[in-house]
Each structure stands twice: as structure tokens, then as C-alpha cells.
């Protein structure tokens, strides 16, 4: 296309943009009209090409979006005497959201998503919503356990596929060699940069954060969640009740128990031990659950209190929350400024929110030594987040490096 014609086309497109019709534009360039016509017709065709969203899809999206927002709002409100009412509403909102998510086909499409996939966040959000619907403590424990299993399955799938992705999962230490550990059947490579916290031993429950690479998870951090006790309580069928929280009760010996005495969450889904916090009401809550869903410890077989119904969520046990909310579903408790994780006990939340949502831990607050990636308030470093549409964190050296052109460009 010669330059002159190109320039005319450029100007013609501007005129079309301003609202002139095709015939009017061509009328301004009578000599070149014949040549220009096909180009302008293409432009018109391109302008019409966009699909109009079907009304049903738009409405379904809107309902799900607003319901999820309502659930989020519920979760963030201060506790009120009508806590029971909120607890009743939350599952309904969640139920509506799920029904609609299924209707839009989104939940089923996302259930096979793995860390790094576009729909992974949706999958985690779906898990959180489903969990929010379940009030019965035993079922919750089963759900949480299933989610823990799912995290393990995802890691295995990533390893099999040779995909590199940032992952976080919980499991029992089966072997703790110098260069490699085995955690719930997954090889975890230890390197100079790996932080090992809490002195975990074989049989303990740990949380592993790392990257899948070359058949193993290259661990950035391994932190002890709960140490194993020598004998499980006899009356409860295989559960991990024997595990006690980390900073906890002084009488818990470090475990020398072979993995079979306690219960290991093996990879086969049918062997589902329930995770339960210890019966001791004064013990600190365990964080034996995968992130995103519940920061709070897993339910007790006998749920002590739920903080008087304060925080709508949570089936929590024990303490927690000084009335603030945490844990409900997606929010993870966060310590007043400290973050969450393992040693978050005692305090816990002074109402901040650590959302950990989809595997990213974002805590806020002061120390976040542990959480990688959080991202909060622009403070730190964030994410290892696969998703993230944006990352705008003011400071965050790492990512944001690509914040180049667009409003937000996630660290990718």
C-alpha cells in the first residue's frame, strides 16, 4: 500500500471513528474511493466482530460476582450479636454462588486447574465457597483434608508434567535426609536457600513452600506445623488428633514415632484421616490446613467455642480471634502484624486480614518473614503469585518489574 493511500486510510478511519458513515467518508475522496472502499469495509466488519455477551452469561456473572462480594463483606464485618444470622446467611450466599458458578460452567472447568493455570484461582475460590457451606465440624475436617490431598495431587501432577510452578502444601515428614526429604510421598529438595523452621522431624506435619522442578519441589521453606505424639488417642479412629500444635503444650515430646503410628495423609484419597486440633482447650490453634481456606485451625471433634458466634466463620475452635475475624474462609488469620503461620497462635488476629487466597499468602503486616510473597499493602514483595492481574504494589522489587505497559501486569 503506498504511503499516500495509507495516509488516506488513516484519515478515513479517524472520520469513521468520529461518526461519519462509510459513504460519507468515501464521498470526500472521490478519486480514491474505489481503492479505499474494501479497506473501509474491512474496518466496518472488524468493528462488528466483537461478540455481544449473551444476557444469561452476563446475569449469571453478575449474580455470582455480587454474591461473592456479599460473602466477603460478611466475613469482614465486626462480630455482632446477630452472629448466628450471619452464619446462616453466609452459606446461602455461598450456595447461590456455587449454583451459579456451576451454571456458568466455571467450577467444573476449573476443577482440574493447577497452580499456574488461568483458572487456578477460580478453583481455589470454589473450594473456599464449598467449605463455607459446611458447618458440621467432622465434615469440615474431611473437606479440609480433601483439600490438603488436592494440593498434594496438584504438586504431583506438576512434577509429572515437568511444569515449574510455585506451590505450597502440607504433609507429613517421611524422610529427612540432608539433601532431600520426603513429605507425604513428594520429594522435597533441600538447598542452601531453604529455610527450615521449627525443627521438624520425621512424623511431623510441615508446610512446604517451593517450586516444582526436576521431579522434586525445590523448597524455599519448610515449617513445622504440628509435631507428632507417640501414641494416638485410642477412642478416635485414625485421625491426626495425636498431633499437637507447635508452640504448644509442654508435654508433647518431639516425635520419634514412626509415621505409621500417627496418621499420614497418604496420597490415596480414600484413606482420609481427619485433621483435628488437640483436645486441650488452652492449646493454641493449629494451622494444619492449606492456605486460603481456613487460616484457622481445624475443627475439634468437640468444637469448643466459636467464639460465641462471633466470627461468623469458623468453626473454630478454641480461640481465636478476639472477635475478629479471621478465618473465614479465605481470610487467614493474621496476627496482629505478625503473620500467620505457624506461629500464630496466641494472637491472632487483631483483625487483619491475611488473605491467603489462592495460595498466595499475603499477609500484611509487619513481619512477614514467613510469608512469602505477601503482598499487602504494597509492602512487600509479592507474590509468587501466579495470578495476579496486577500487581501494583508500590514496592516490590521483584514484581512489578513488569509493570510495564499496562495498568497491571502481574509478575509472570
Amino acid at each position: 500500500m503506498n504511503d499516500k493511500l495509507e495516509q488516506q486510510l488513516l484519515e478515513s478511519l479517524e472520520l469513521l471513528d468520529q461518526g461519519l458513515t462509510l459513504e460519507q467518508v468515501l464521498a470526500r475522496n472521490p478519486e480514491d474511493a474505489a481503492e479505499l472502499r474494501p479497506f473501509l469495509e474491512t474496518a466496518a466488519q472488524v468493528s462488528r466482530l466483537a461478540l455481544q455477551p449473551p444476557i444469561a452469561a452476563k446475569q449469571a456473572s453478575r449474580r455470582a460476582f455480587l454474591n461473592d462480594a456479599a460473602a466477603m463483606r460478611e466475613a469482614q464485618q465486626k462480630p455482632s450479636p446477630l452472629g448466628w444470622l450471619r452464619r446462616g446467611l453466609l452459606p446461602l450466599a455461598g450456595l447461590a454462588a456455587i449454583v451459579l458458578l456451576f451454571a456458568v460452567g466455571l467450577v467444573t472447568a476449573s476443577t482440574t486447574a493447577m497452580p499456574g493455570d488461568a483458572l487456578y484461582q477460580t478453583k481455589r475460590a470454589g473450594e473456599a465457597v464449598r467449605l463455607a457451606l459446611v458447618r458440621d465440624p467432622e465434615r469440615r475436617a474431611a473437606f479440609l483434608n480433601e483439600q490438603q490431598q488436592e494440593r498434594l495431587r496438584e504438586v504431583e501432577a506438576l512434577l509429572r508434567a515437568g511444569r515449574e510452578a510455585q506451590v505450597t502444601f502440607d504433609g507429613l515428614v517421611e524422610r529427612d535426609g540432608t539433601a532431600e526429604w520426603m513429605v507425604s510421598g513428594i520429594a522435597v529438595a533441600i538447598g542452601p536457600e531453604t529455610n527450615i523452621e521449627g525443627m521438624p522431624h520425621r512424623g511431623d506435619l510441615v508446610r512446604v513452600d517451593g517450586v516444582t522442578r526436576d521431579g522434586a519441589v525445590a523448597a524455599d521453606r519448610i515449617s513445622l506445623i504440628a509435631a507428632a505424639l507417640p501414641t494416638p488417642t485410642p477412642d478416635v479412629a485414625p485421625t491426626l488428633e495425636a498431633l499437637v500444635p507447635v508452640p504448644a503444650t509442654t508435654e508433647a515430646p518431639a516425635s520419634t514415632v514412626p509415621p505409621t503410628a500417627t496418621l499420614r495423609p497418604s496420597v490415596t484419597p480414600d484413606d482420609t484421616p481427619t485433621l483435628a486440633a488437640p483436645a486441650d482447650p488452652t492449646a493454641e490453634p493449629t494451622r494444619a490446613v492449606p492456605p486460603t481456606v481456613e487460616a484457622n485451625p481445624v475443627p475439634n471433634p468437640t468444637p469448643t467455642d466459636d467464639n460465641g458466634g462471633q466470627n461468623g466463620n469458623d468453626d473454630d475452635n478454641q480461640n481465636n480471634n478476639n472477635g475478629d475475624d479471621n478465618g473465614n474462609d479465605q481470610d487467614n488469620g493474621d496476627g496482629g502484624g505478625q503473620d500467620n503461620n505457624s506461629n500464630d497462635n496466641s494472637d491472632d488476629n487483631s483483625g487483619n486480614d491475611n488473605n491467603d487466597d489462592s495460595g498466595d499468602n499475603n499477609g500484611n503486616g509487619g513481619n512477614d518473614g514467613e510469608n512469602n510473597g505477601n503482598d499487602n499493602a504494597g509492602e512487600d514483595g509479592n507474590n509468587n503469585d501466579q495470578n495476579n492481574g496486577n500487581d501494583h504494589g508500590g514496592d516490590n522489587g521483584s514484581d512489578n518489574s513488569n509493570n510495564s505497559g499496562h495498568g497491571s501486569e502481574g509478575g509472570d
Partner: protein, 219 residues
Amino acid sequence: MVVGGDREPQVGSAAGRVYNNERPRPAADLPATLKDHPVDDENALLRRATQLDQDALSLIHNRYYDLIYRYISYRVDDVHAVEDLTSEVFTRFLVALRARKGPQDTLRGWFYGTAANVVKEHYRDRRRSDHELLDDAAPSAGRGPDEDFDRQLANSRLRAALAELTEEQQQVLALRYGFDMPFREVAETLKKTEGSVKMLQTRAIATLTRKLRGAEAGS
């Protein structure tokens, strides 16, 4: 430009629905174009959204759903994926609000950026997972009962040609016609001058026209 939303396309000038003489005033219920909402208005809306204000969120969904859907539909040729990816953008919006790392710049910039990322990840995931979704993919050409066969055929050829453009050219077309951004804003978003954006668009149209005519000549 008129964003059709859920209404029937305007029958009218030969140039088609989008290019015509009408410039109707946006009604409250019609999906408005971005041009009608200055940035300050959007900032106020964003503040309310951060508080999870239901009305603000509802307004945001109304305002952006169509634009995002249309933008994605320019870049992804599978109607189910377009729907899923559009919903994904809104899910990420809530996640971002909850994590308090919501849009720091402008709302529209955030939505555009997230939509672009979601599309990029979609293609990256498809490349990685070897199974091609071709069986499930529902080509988007000519949806709707009033699309006649000729138009469907023409649209599917156009889409094929569109997929052969450079990424930059596709971005410009998707932002201009899908997201309905004026030149100035496209230029800001892509960090280019208005002149380069116009030239990109012009050359994209020229290339498409040549490809389509070449296809016709050949058939």
C-alpha cells in the same frame, strides 16, 4: 461508537452498526462507553468498591462486563473460553479487593491489564497442556440467530486473518473495537503516541483486507 450491549444491532448504514451517525446519549441502564466516564468518577467508584459497596460493585460489573467480554472475544476464538475468562477477570477483581491490592491506578487500566493477562495465560496454558481444546472449542464466528450463513463465513475468515496479525496489532484492534477505548487512551495504555496507534490500526486493517481478498481470489 455505540456499544451494543444486549440490544439488537442497529440496522442502518452500510458501514454497520458500530460506525454510523447516531451518537445516542447513554441511558443509565445501557452499558456506557468508557468515554462517558471520566477518570475522577472512576476513582470515586473505586474507593467505594474497596469498601465492597454493593451498588458500586454492581455498577462496575455493568460498566465493564461487556467491554471485557468484547475485548477478550477479539483475542480468543472460543465462546466458552470467552465467558470463562471474562468471569475470571471479575473473580480476580474481588480477590484483589480482598487482598487490598486492588487497582492502584485506574479502574479501567486495571481491568484492561487483567483482561490482557487472562488472555495471555489462556494461550500459555494451551501451549503447555498438549491437549488442544479444538474439540470443545466453539468458534465464535457468527453467533446469534440473526447471523446468516454468509456473514458467519465472512466472520470466520476475518477471525482467522486476525489471528495472524502481530500481537501489537491485535491489541490495538481489541482495545479500540472491543474495549471501546479512544485513541488517546489506547496510546496511554500501550505507552505509544497516538500517531503510532493510528498507524498500527491502519496497517492492521490494510493487512486484514489484503488477506481476505487474497483468500477470496484464491477460492
